[in-house]
Amino acid sequence: MTFKSAVITFPGSNCDRDAVTYLEDLTAGPVYKIWHEESTLPNVDLVILPGGFSFGDYLRSGAMASKSQIIKDVVKHAESGKYLMGICNGFQILTEIGLLHGALLQNNGLKFLGKNCFIKKRNRNNFNKSIDDDKILEIPVAHNEGNFYCDEDTLKDLLDNELIAFEYCDGQYSLDEANINGSLKNIAGITNKKKNILGLMPHPERAYQKYHSSEDGKLIIESILS
């Protein structure tokens, strides 16, 4: 059966084309481009909320996108157990909708971070099941608000239910600190309890071609497809 996916575009999204290309290149199935004002999603296996500055990141990153017309159907899609992934601004939108725990604060260095970071898998799920436990992935980040925060109860919930998909880690020969932005428990990506929704700050769609600085981003789609 062909794997079908969709990418939502909000005003200010700027990684929508990248996400479409990523899915087209790696899933070989159809990829639908959906404008935020549409009211229904096509029947797909995976929806990506892409990175960018939806609605200018005004008020709070992701806040206004989380109230868009299409979101109702995105929530329905996720409730049916199918895959939903938010990358960067998409992660911020997922927390603003309330589909994922916590919130993303401004980086603790108070600066936008555009560079490669290193992450590894923490709790196994369908987004990372093909990745070796000790594999260090090198993937670009590009965000101003990536500093994951939640209260203690929520953190306990994340830990108890094994919802931490990826965490920042040291990179070989890297002079930079592992935790690039001050995230609680080095969190780079989390899932919901059903583990069909992933929010991830790094951009796997910028790390899968041979001319990219790494091809590690492939592993996430490979996990989903396997």
Partner: protein, 721 residues
Amino acid sequence: MNDDLILQHGLTLDEFSIIKNYLKRDLTIEELGIFSAMWNEHCCYKTSKKWLKKLPTNNEIVIQGPGENAGIIDLEDQDGIAFKIESHNHPSYIEPFNGSATGVGGILRDIFTMGARPIATLDSIRFGAITTDKTRFLLNGVVHGIGHYGNCIGIPNIGGECEFEHSYDFNNLVNAMAIGHVKKDAIFYSKPKTLGGLIVYIGSKTGKDGIHGASMASDVFSEDDEDDKRPSVQVGDPFMEKLLMEGCLELMASGFIESMQDMGAAGITSSSVEMASKGNVGVHIDLDKVPLRQPLSAYEILLSESQERMLAVIDKDNDDKVRKILQKWQIDYEVIGEITNTKRVVFTSQGKEVVNLPVDIIVEDAPEYDREFFIPRKRKEKTFDTKNLNLDLLIENQLNNLNYIDKSWVYNQYDSTVMGDTIKDPGQSAGVVKIHGTNKAIGATTDCNPLYIRINPKKGMKATVAESYRNLISSNLKPLAITNNLNFASPLDPNIMGELVLSIDGLKEAASYLNTPIVSGNVSLYNQTNDQPIKPTPVIGMVGSNLNYEKLNSNFFQGEDDEILYIGKCLDPSYSPYFLQDQLNIREMNSFNDLADTNLDEELKAANFILESSEQGLIRSCNDISRGGIFNSLLKMIKKDLGFKIEIQNLINLFCEFSAGYVISINKKNKEKISEISKKNNIELYKLGVVKKSTIDINNQKIDFKDVYTKYKKNFENIIH
């Protein structure tokens, strides 16, 4: 009209009398505003035009040379590449965040106005010495502003340069370059096609941003702000620009519009005048129809530099269709006038004609000056003593100088990988992106050597062009064309004017010889505060390509035991100005020897050798040799734990500047093949050493690898804080 008012509008009394004699009547204040905007250096190049005309601007790949919003070159098949560099120097000194942000916004509009989708930006920024809080404030603000705008709109920043030097203490420079991709049959020009076409306003509402009007002419400002008559800083809204870009690109693809102009500097005035001039038509615009953010007078509307606005011409029948597309993107749209056959620029406000001028007097009759200039005197020859320098000191001097070390503090604040096509991000010899959906790589670099140009403007400029050329060659990119940004102090000083004239001459010679025409550019003069002029800073942005990205060279070492070689001629220390300045602390301009003349034939030969070897896959990594000599090139080539062990007869040669110099690393097994190519191209190959893990070893003197590499990577941040 009194003289003060005229002078405050930046016009000389002579210029004013030309206008009056032509019109044979008094001017309205709005008309004076128009001349003030259109006859300034930025719009009409009155000081530089005579010299700029001498530049080579055409060859077989140039589709559009200077004169449009951006130049365009042919990249085979249906692909065209649009690019331009532009300065936002003064606004970035007044308000670094917004000044630099709107600089990025403006150059991106120049690109998508041509129908091209922006695919990369670069930034050439210069600041004063880092010893003052003011410089730190400017650095932080400028980098934040460039990053904010580019990151938000989602165009990767792939390179540029960042230099610190005293002469920029009160005049920092911010030059932003953008590159776009356009299908050759989809290029848009500013020339309108039909009479009777509607002139439409697209984008943000007009406010008081950046109005340059004279403060004494208080009656021309609207009445609601008695307390603040100062021109306000332009504020950029990258979110709006993103919508505007998508909206405009969709409009242009729809075929519903005829032509487009960015309302950049001098806003609606310059865009409408240019439209009329290019099309040899007239324009009639009703200022009451212009969407406003706040109540404004006609004068203010004409001169407002509010950002994220476009002026377009459409056929009457397409009004509704255009409106509908822009509604989707939540963009303001208003019909504000029409194209006429009068060859006059007419603006009305409240039913009254406030401007009625022939296009010719504004454009054709704009002044052109042949200002007095001096040629620098011949320099006396001197020899400098380098006996007191030892290896540790030479290395320390580089590692403690912001101009020699890794600048990731700057570019890590930029998104360099958005759009997913970035092949080389900042910090390498050139930034490179792939044309989406093809194998074609486009690379670009910005360069300037102000010290060289002050010593000898013509030779210095040739050296700068050669450096850009080498930066592209290092990555196996074929250099194609140039955009330039001529930043100078006041041309009323004949010495400065001489620098302008002679550096253009150098640019002409080098660009002609290397077949890299100048297709777009910008001039920024009067960059001086009181008696402190900036060093002459004509920045070159050079674009090159490789039709197969897989053939590109890395600029980083690739594997242990690879052999390191170099080519080129080392300059004598006494003729290496940056060496003298940065290692021997020579500051007095008269102390330097004349600059060595760049041998362009040697540059071509060296380039051919690198390109041929690269195409055969023989070069594992390559970097050119410039400021900081071989040693600095080697530092830039370190990747992860891959260092180097080298030997060189004269240690000083590691730190001196070069002519046609490159450092390369190769797999040992390819040594013979590469020496054959070098012989064929008449190039002398010199052995330096090998790539070696966790090592910096020079003439058997071991240097702490981790210490040097950490300082190279991290000292920037330590020094600026």
